[in-house]
Symmetry: C2
Subunit: 315 residues, 2 copies
């Protein structure tokens, strides 16, 4: 178990993104309204590894039980702004094989004018994880930090297509990018994932993780790479948030280990373990609707699944 | 290196399938006519691991240089029947991303009345690998063997859809089945690959390898499983034959190690290494058109790529 080797250097993470209510339908069922949002999933997943401080906005309809869930995971909510109006609402329906989803409704509500402001107590934290929001907002958040040692985040097709210049400017300052395979191809203009990763590395982030849904993920770090297959779930109930949980597990493990990505001597195997913990958290996320799995999940279950990955990839 | 540990118990393999000429067009080029066929690819790949004896039919147009290539790999050609007429010809064109292909032409020619007859010298060999041909022919070949210790093979959508009863009867006698993910779902009626594998195991083969193209493969053996991601090629020139080369590498390694799949105590890690060698041979196959890569490929290159798999999956 590599888990506790450098635990004493554990760093905190500041997470920015959306806190939302989601309506989701999958072949296994339907939920009209439940807690969701990229910041929520990232924070819950990362909270198993280190201290997490969130920056997000919710409306006056945000339920106390949802505040309580985040607080129960020891997540710092000082940066969770409450404002008049309704919380961001998203509604979607998944295809039979769950590889596609259609958005039925997006009500930005209070998220429309989200202007993230970091509490003073957040500004000197070493790790910054930028959930999938407008690239200019991601950059603004980074600008408010004193001097983050490690910055990484996520993006999506919308920003790649319509805010490309802004996104490229934002990525320059990042140490790592988490991106899915289709988006990596779109961002780089390269079909082959090795070439796509190289092109993205040239945009800024030395470490690029390409997520492949059920097929797993590939980590590119400098000239080195690591590939992990996806966990074979018997039933995927709801894939919503799996990518964000991957981000939370990945970054959470790196922060727990106190890993400084800017340090050229970093052990690639530590990064690979972070990819495994990302995969583990993504797989748990899919086992229940929404954030439900995190109501009962324990660190022991997470470490046991890490070991399962060892077993089924060993030869 | 696990490679040579039990080399002294190496077994020979009898391979049955098609020997053909192919016309192939991929985004990287076009070849009007070149050596192909499932038996050809399997035999070439397996020949790096053990002695291979083939059973197939060709026409009187079969070129001496193609005989020479097979002979140069020390493949036993006693069972390669030559008959009046033309060799099986297949022509296809791949899509831009090479995940699909359209068949433009299939001339069965002498293959239409192929009635495989095993030379006496083949009948007591321990390993039998049945390439993708009509299930009744696969069964007939097995019936001609004295008592093969291990039988395995491949199948395809055509037989699953239109010869289901015959295929099910044939599979009963197999120790392992190699099948791609779409066909595994079709054969089992299960979308989830874990469940699909379990359903297929109940049809006969205790060991099932589900191939996922560029995403790698999953081995199911009893209740145990192993997953390997695909090798990240920078350029795929021509995927024709990659699945057959996987079968050749997989079975070749098992035969080289003298592994008896019927033995309940078999080490799952040896099976996993066989999957890696299958993946290695499939990846080399894609690097050139047709069988061209096998004109220069060495065992040293194969073992080096095996080590590469170790490196990029290690955490």
């Amino acid at each position: 178990m590599p888990l506790a080797s450098t635990y004493n250097k554990t760093m905190s993470i500041v997470v920015v993104g959306s806190v939302a209510y989601d309506g989701v339908e999958t072949p296994h069922g339907r939920v009209e309204r439940m807690l969701g949002g990229s910041c929520t999933y990232i924070a819950l997943a990362a909270s198993y590894f280190t201290k997490v401080r969130i920056v997000a906005v919710v409306g006056d309809d945000f339920a106390q039980e949802d505040v309580d869930l985040l607080a129960s995971r020891n997540i710092d909510l000082e940066g969770l702004e409450r404002t008049a109006g309704k919380t961001f609402f998203w509604q979607g329906v998944y295809s039979q094989d769950m590889n596609d989803r259609d958005t039925l409704r997006t009500d930005l509500n209070v998220f429309e004018h989200f202007d993230p402001k970091l509490p003073a107590s957040y500004k000197s934290e070493p790790y910054l994880l930028l959930g999938n929001i407008q690239p200019a907002l991601q950059r603004s958040v980074r600008g408010q930090m004193a001097k983050p040692r490690i910055t990484g985040g996520d993006t999506m097709n919308l920003w790649i297509e319509h805010f490309r210049g802004e996104l490229l400017q934002t990525l320059q300052g990042w140490d790592f990018l988490l991106i899915n395979d289709g988006e990596a191809r779109m961002l780089s203009g390269e079909k082959n994932l090795r070439r796509a990763a190289r092109a993205i590395q040239a945009m800024g982030p030395r470490t690029v993780v390409i997520k492949r849904g059920e097929y797993g993920a590939i980590l590119f770090h400098g000239d080195d790479y690591f590939i992990v297959p996806g966990y074979l779930l018997e039933t995927v109930f709801d894939p919503t948030g799996a990518g964000d949980c991957f981000a939370g597990g990945f970054t959470g493990y790196l922060a727990q280990q106190g890993i400084d990505l800017a340090d050229g001597t970093i052990d690639r195997r530590e990064l690979s373990r972070a990819v495994i913990f990302g995969s583990v958290m993504g797989s748990f996320c899919c086992e229940r609707f929404g954030v439900d799995r995190f109501r009962t999940l324990t660190r022991e279950e997470i470490d046991a699944r890490f070991q399962e990955f060892k077993t089924f990839t060993d030869f």
